[in-house]
Each structure stands twice: as structure tokens, then as C-alpha cells.
Symmetry: C2
Subunit: 328 residues, 2 copies
Amino acid sequence: MSIRIGIIGYGNLGRGVECAIKQNNDMELVAVFTRRDPSTVKILTDTAKVVNIKDIEDYKDKIDVAIICGGSATDLPNQTPEYSRLFNCIDSFDTHARIPEHFDNVNKVCLENNKVTLISIGWDPGLFSLNRLLGNAVLPDGNDYTFWGKGVSQGHSDAVRRIKGVKNAKQYTIPVESALERVRNGENPTLTTREKHTRECFVVLEEGADAAQVEKEIVTMPNYFADYDTTVHFISEEEFNANHSGIPHGGFVIRSGKTGWEGEKNHTIEFSLKLDSNPEFTASVLVAYARATYRLAEKKDFGCKTIFDIPLALLSPKSGEELRKTLL
Amino acid sequence: MSIRIGIIGYGNLGRGVECAIKQNNDMELVAVFTRRDPSTVKILTDTAKVVNIKDIEDYKDKIDVAIICGGSATDLPNQTPEYSRLFNCIDSFDTHARIPEHFDNVNKVCLENNKVTLISIGWDPGLFSLNRLLGNAVLPDGNDYTFWGKGVSQGHSDAVRRIKGVKNAKQYTIPVESALERVRNGENPTLTTREKHTRECFVVLEEGADAAQVEKEIVTMPNYFADYDTTVHFISEEEFNANHSGIPHGGFVIRSGKTGWEGEKNHTIEFSLKLDSNPEFTASVLVAYARATYRLAEKKDFGCKTIFDIPLALLSPKSGEELRKTLL
């Protein structure tokens, strides 16, 4: 029997989840829940339904795990506790500072309703967090470094698009190669914001806009660009659509630490991602952890969990015996 | 109260474990057990004892976790089941093909004696296995690549040292950079043995030995060198001692896979290690997982386990709440 999945919210992430389910034979998409008129939402899976979110209670016994694909700012803080009453759930809540509060809210609902919900699953928070924990535990005497990119920052792209005269824009965050090399060489440097990342913007101007003025507004924008070295390229709409329509991302988590009686030996642990599509990869992580959610619920190990609490064996469709034989 | 640790076997790995315990405030070394005359074994920790292995039963209630630092060929297949009668244990058994058999032997003893034993903990098997599992689960439609090095292969160094005329030798395994780049670029290449790694030997000759003959014996040696491009350097004993006395190692585990409805997008997950000392790093991994062993025993979750079965939260001295706040 397949693990029956529901998707709540059908933007880039929800569509990514649908694609990832297709790659996992032990899973089946039952329904996509949407706030829009269901007749206007076209999905790819013939055998699944599109359902108005108002009717979600009807699916209480028809879904094993609900993958919630809303945004962290306003959707997930409400949706994840709400739907954890009905289903085992998983979300990708990524507002790092508010995770403890979100955890407590979700945990309470899960324990009252005998449900398992995993929060903050993805790559950061998510796989990057897992590697930070591993690095700290294995090399207690060391330093952590996280670099992001090369990839698209939606927040920074939006900020540029709000400037008067900008028709469209995309912002790439780029790690500084020389800083990465210093970290990899075990120099344990202290790095400023400017030394770690640069920012590169591709901008399509409105007719008659003042390029020099737009560039100045970008590179001096507080919080977003002022603390970085920023390059601005003005390009045509055709070039923008041809070369900058994707949502690539990635990054590096590095732990550099010392061992030995007097700390004589240096070691570097590095985890990195290079992703053609940020939402499709995040969706693939969510789907693997949906399998773990299902198995924890089968074991009645209820409550809210994070990526730190999940043995990796639970992510794989293979049995423990097969895993030991083929992957250990 | 500290976690009380015993070390069984005091070679490079045992000494590494002793150093790693010093870096973890919640742990305490109680005793080192040795087959040698204890009076001939000097350890670094003032507060710990050196004990003849014959007297190990006296420590049954004085140790929470025994870290077994024997060799995989002949020590661990006997030692780990034997000492799992007395203690929760952890080993770094690394004969991949015999892991299922070792698991079954150890599991039986653990269940009969209410003990937890973790086997095959280190970096390969170990952290590399964890990343292979993660990559397979997140990107089911993809390929696995493992590269080792740059690092010292003890087996290959030993093989060179057995050649007539060789006084001392060290062999480095080196990943081929262009092969690594092809994998990172998502080309999903099929790579031969020769295309993945080269081998480099540093050899000190006995007086009057025939260098050309030694070189020929090395590069044509079946299983060890014949399938590789091998470079041989003859050096003086002084240079050998100055530059080749360490045991560095490392490597790369890469998963390259596709997502999307038609598999349009490519992603690369890479985990890599650069280690000044192979045994000290392996020891650091063992000590972090010894903490998990202790916690599983506290929860009475008895039996043999592998790295796949352990939630990473159990590796850290921090509480779940602290981890969510600081590392997620």
C-alpha cells in the first residue's frame, strides 16, 4: 500500500512536491488543496483531485501525510498547527528566529491529536542544519561557516523590483571564492558580511527609466545591499527571459576544527549543494521526510519533530537489512 | 555526571579516542584495556587506569560505553560480540562486505544482555554512508560517486613495504580532479577505476637496491596498482620522516540527480572531508556516537545499531530546545 499524500498550496513548491512524489513508487498523491477556485488549478497527476481548502476535513482519513507548501511569513504559523489537528504534516518553515515558538505551537496540537508533524524541513533550515549539528558534535573545538549561492534570493529580487523604473529583476547571491578557500585551508578566518558574499543584479528597465539612478538606489539600499559589493547589469527583456527565468540556488556548510591532545591536527568537513531549482530540491527533501513522518506515526511516536530527531534510515524505502548491505 | 568511557586497544585509534574525550566535558575516560603488559603502556590521562584485558570483567559496572579500537580483519569480529556481553559498545568495523554478518552476531548478544552496540562508525563506513543514504533518498533518480583522498592507504603502503629492497614507503590515493569536475557538473559520467584515482608512492630504498626493478614491481602489482596510473618517487629517509610521517586522508561523496516532471533539473549534493589525521578524526566520530550509544541505553533501546539508525540530536551535548534555537 502506498503512502497517501496531500499537498496544501500549489505554487512552485507544491508543484515540486507533485513531481517528487512521481519519483517515489511507495507514494501516491491523493489531493491538492487550494484557496483558489479548484476548476482554475491544473495539476499534472491524472489520478489526484484538486479540492477547495474549505473541504479539507473530508480527507481526514484519506491522507497519511499532508505536505504544507505555504509561505513562512503568514501561512505556516497558522496552517501547520491547524492542519496538525487532522493529519500528520510536514512543513518547510524557514524563519529561523521563530522556530522555537512554531515548534511549541505545533507540538501541543500534535500531542492532543496523536499526530506527527515535522517542521522546518528543506535545505536551510534542513540539510544545512543537520550538517552544522554533525560538525559541532564531531569537532567540538572548531568554527562553523555557511555560504549561500550561487543562487537567486527572492527577497532581494523583490526589493529591486520595487524600485521606480524597474520592470523586472533578479538578484544572485554569490559566495566569495577566496573566502571559501581560506576556510577550506583551515585558516579559521573571521569574515565580515562583505568578505563572504557578493550580490549581482540583472535588471530590465521601464522605457525611459534613469539607469544611473536605479543603480544608485540598489547599491545603497540599507539591509539588502549597502553592506555588500553589488554589481548591476541592465539587460533586455529577451535576455532576461532567456537566461534568468530559473530559480537556482545552493551553498556550503563548512566545519573546521582541531583534534589531538594539544589540538595539533586540523580537519575540514564540507557539505555543499548546487541546485538547478531551489523549490524542486526543497520539495524532494520534503517528500523523503514525509516517508519518515509516516513511519513515526505508524510507531505512534507522536509530537512535533525537527530534522535533528529523525534517523536517516526512515527516509529510505529500503529496509534496514538492505541499507546495511548496499549503502553502509 | 559524566559518561564513563573505556577504550579497548591503544594504538593510533585508541590514542585518538583519548584525545577526543578530553574535548567533551560530559565524558570521562575510566580505563584503557590492553593485551600488553599494562606497565609498558603510557597514556595521557592522569585520572584513568591502564588495565590488562584479562581483568575487563571487573569494570562491568564502572563503564557506560566501551569504544573498541581493534582492527577489522581479526579483532573486531570477535571483540565486539564478546564485549557487548559486558558493556554498551561502539566499533569502527570497516569490512563493508561482512557488515551484515557482524551486525547479526552483535545484535544477538546485545538483545540477550540488554546492551546497545553501534557498529561501523567512522567516516567510511560512517559519515560517507550517511550521505550516500541521504542522497539516494532525496534524489531517487540519480547516481552515486565516492572519491577517496588525497590520503594515505595503509594497505597499499604495506604492499609496497613488502617489496624486496624497500626500507620504508607511503602510498597516497589521489582523486582525479577532472573526473570530480565532470561529476560536479552533472554529467553523470561512467568512470573506470583508472579515471577516478591515481596513486603516488614515496619510497626509501635499502642500500644497493635496484630502483628500476622496485618501480616496475610496484606499478605492475595486481589488485593494488596495475589498474591505476601510479607515480613512484624515491626519497631519502630524512625527507620521508620530515614530510611523510602523517596519516592524512579524506574524500568526496557526491549524489547527482534529476527532478521535475520530465527530469529537467539537475542537482548535486556533495559531502567532503579533508583530514590531517585519519585515526584522530575517526576517533572524534566514535566519541560523538558514544554519546548517542549512552542515550539509547538510557532509553533501553537495546540491540545492534548502525549510523543509519541514530537521530543526529543524540550526538550533541545540547538539549533539543538548545539545538532548535542555535543550530536549526
